[in-house]
């Protein structure tokens, strides 16, 4: 068995698992659609289209499971891009913390910290890198304030600045 075959089978397995998850989602949505209130004397209720879609999704998911479980090595599809997971988790974690902080610290304070941390972590871990991160955080935060709050008058939560 070559490496390519193994990978192909792994992908087939992943497809099958995703298909099963989607089948579950379709079933859950169909079941939940019973809770959608239907007004009287309306021939086509608000639950109608979601049910149709849930049915379509179930059908497609079943095909995915079927194809995934039959899949052997070659599949004629580009192999999915698989980069390292750690940087992805880092960025998503930073974004989640950022979103959590904005209503509490205000937009500008959160933005400053977010940039300082993320630029610092992604760049070189030296004194020079740290200075660069600080400079970027200060400059970008100031520019955002000037442009969005000052010039364009968007309502970003100012939080601590107020």
């Amino acid at each position: 068995v070559t490496g390519g075959d193994l990978r192909g089978r792994g992908e087939g397995l992943a497809d099958a698992v995703i298909g099963l998850l989607l089948l579950g989602l379709a079933a859950a949505l169909f079941w939940m659609s019973r809770d959608i209130p239907s007004p009287p004397f309306v021939p086509v209720t608000p639950a109608f289209f979601p049910r149709v879609l849930a049915g379509v999704l179930a059908g497609l998911a079943a095909l995915l499971v079927l194809r995934g479980s039959r899949r052997r090595g070659r599949d004629g599809e580009p192999r999915a891009a698989r980069g390292p997971l750690r940087p992805a988790v880092l960025v998503y974690g930073a974004l989640a913390a950022y979103a959590f902080a904005i209503p509490r610290l205000g937009f500008y304070a959160s933005t400053f910290v977010f940039l300082l941390v993320l630029v610092g972590l992604l760049g070189e871990r030296t004194a020079r890198g740290a200075v660069r991160a600080l400079a970027v955080a200060v400059a970008t935060t100031a520019a955002c304030y000037a442009v969005f709050t000052g010039y364009l008058r968007l309502f970003l939560p100012e939080g601590l600045l107020r």
């Binding site: 608000p46 999704l57 599809e77 904005i102 970008t140």
Partner: protein, 507 residues
Amino acid sequence: VSQADALMAAAAAVADPGTLLGLLVGVLVGLVGGAIPGITITLTVILILPFTFGMDTVGGLATMIGVYVGGESGGLVSACLLGMPGTPSAIATTFDGFPMARAGEPGRAVWLGIWAGLFGGLIAGVFLVYGTIWLGRFALQFGPWEYFSLFILTLTIVASLSEGSMLKGLVAGTVGLLARMVGVDPIMSTDRFTLGTEFLRSGFPFLPILIGVYGVTQIVTDVQKLRAGDARVAAKVERARLAARHLAVIGEILRGWGNLVRSTLIGLWIGVLPAVGGSAANILAYDQAKKWSKAPDRFGHGSPEGIVASESANNANVAGSLVTIMAFGIPGDAVTAVMLGALIVHGIAPGPLFMTNNLDIAYAMFIAYFVACVATVAVESAILPFFLRLVNVRREVLFPVILVLCVIGAYALNNLMADVWTLLFFGILGFLMVRYGFPLAPIILGVILGDEIEVNLVRSLMTSDDLTLFVTRPISGVMLLLALVSVGVAIYQTRKGRRAEGVDAEG
């Protein structure tokens, strides 16, 4: 409003200093964003999005059109000088632009691309104006049956043409439609799938989804590559050699007018097809140019025809995409999907009535397009000497700043933190989809078309319970037939491809 009045109003709106400034800044940002490998035009438009919230409608749209037109041109500079396409729509430009630059004519390579882009863009602009008006009139005959069938056709085309498997494309499209079902339904205003929470009641607005799926996903994918190898460019091109003899270059392009016109038409056609972006247009045009050329063996070794084909096609592609969004309210690609969002933010409903109800804005978009084409050449010649330094900006600085702008774009839409969480959720979903081979375009299209498909389906069912109307009304029937054909062709080609591979493996 009469046509002449609308035209005058549109010209005045574009000539407004604020609008012109926005357009010029848009072109500049587009050129730079388009030139940086890893920063797509879509991402650049997403970046500029929050800046347009504070502008008026025409100003915001003109800025976006500037980014769009400028971005298509920005990619070619990196393609020629670095051998790296700045955007996917400049891939074919590298084939001949880089060899020509390496052979000592970087100025000729770059300017062939810039001028060809201008000519292609202008020719396509004429079609943009007349095509939109004509198709818009055609679309006025549509009833709910035709709309429903048109949207189904759009979804199947996108699913069958997107990279990877069609099955996964269809799954993505259906998930996109289902995501739109959460919240208050568009017809009866009843709650659906809200789990009783206020958070879900507001639904998933499509701009945060779009920014998440395209913007955040793209940045995360770029960050993954950050450590693998520095994408920054070490190349230094001698500035003096970027000069070109413009008249000679223009003459060269115009003498090969057949190539120019053919490539422009290909770009237009690909642009009109929904959600098939410029990345397909330039390669297809390049391919055809090679087939028709008298000197096909020079392709890949610095053929001027190759550069002209690729660059005129991808600028024409912009015009084609704008036609589809203005005439039908269907985004021709990811960039016009963001533009669709900008229209909605400013309270304008895109769709077949767009031209009738907002003639002045439509005209303003036409004018802004032509101004942007010309401005691109001017701005590009001004910044060309510093270009490589701009392209060389540190990635670890750029990516976090872009993420901040993504968050502002999502939040400032409705001043809702819920939209930022939507952004994050779909940013993660997009990442997982790419990882497991699901194309992104169909989910976006599903989200955009979700309400419209449902409204038109329900409207047609309420008008008449005769289901055969979908097939017997001629326009609707033809479109459903085309949808079936596009699925059939995709299945046939996959089968054929697999069989060919099998033969290879045995042989």
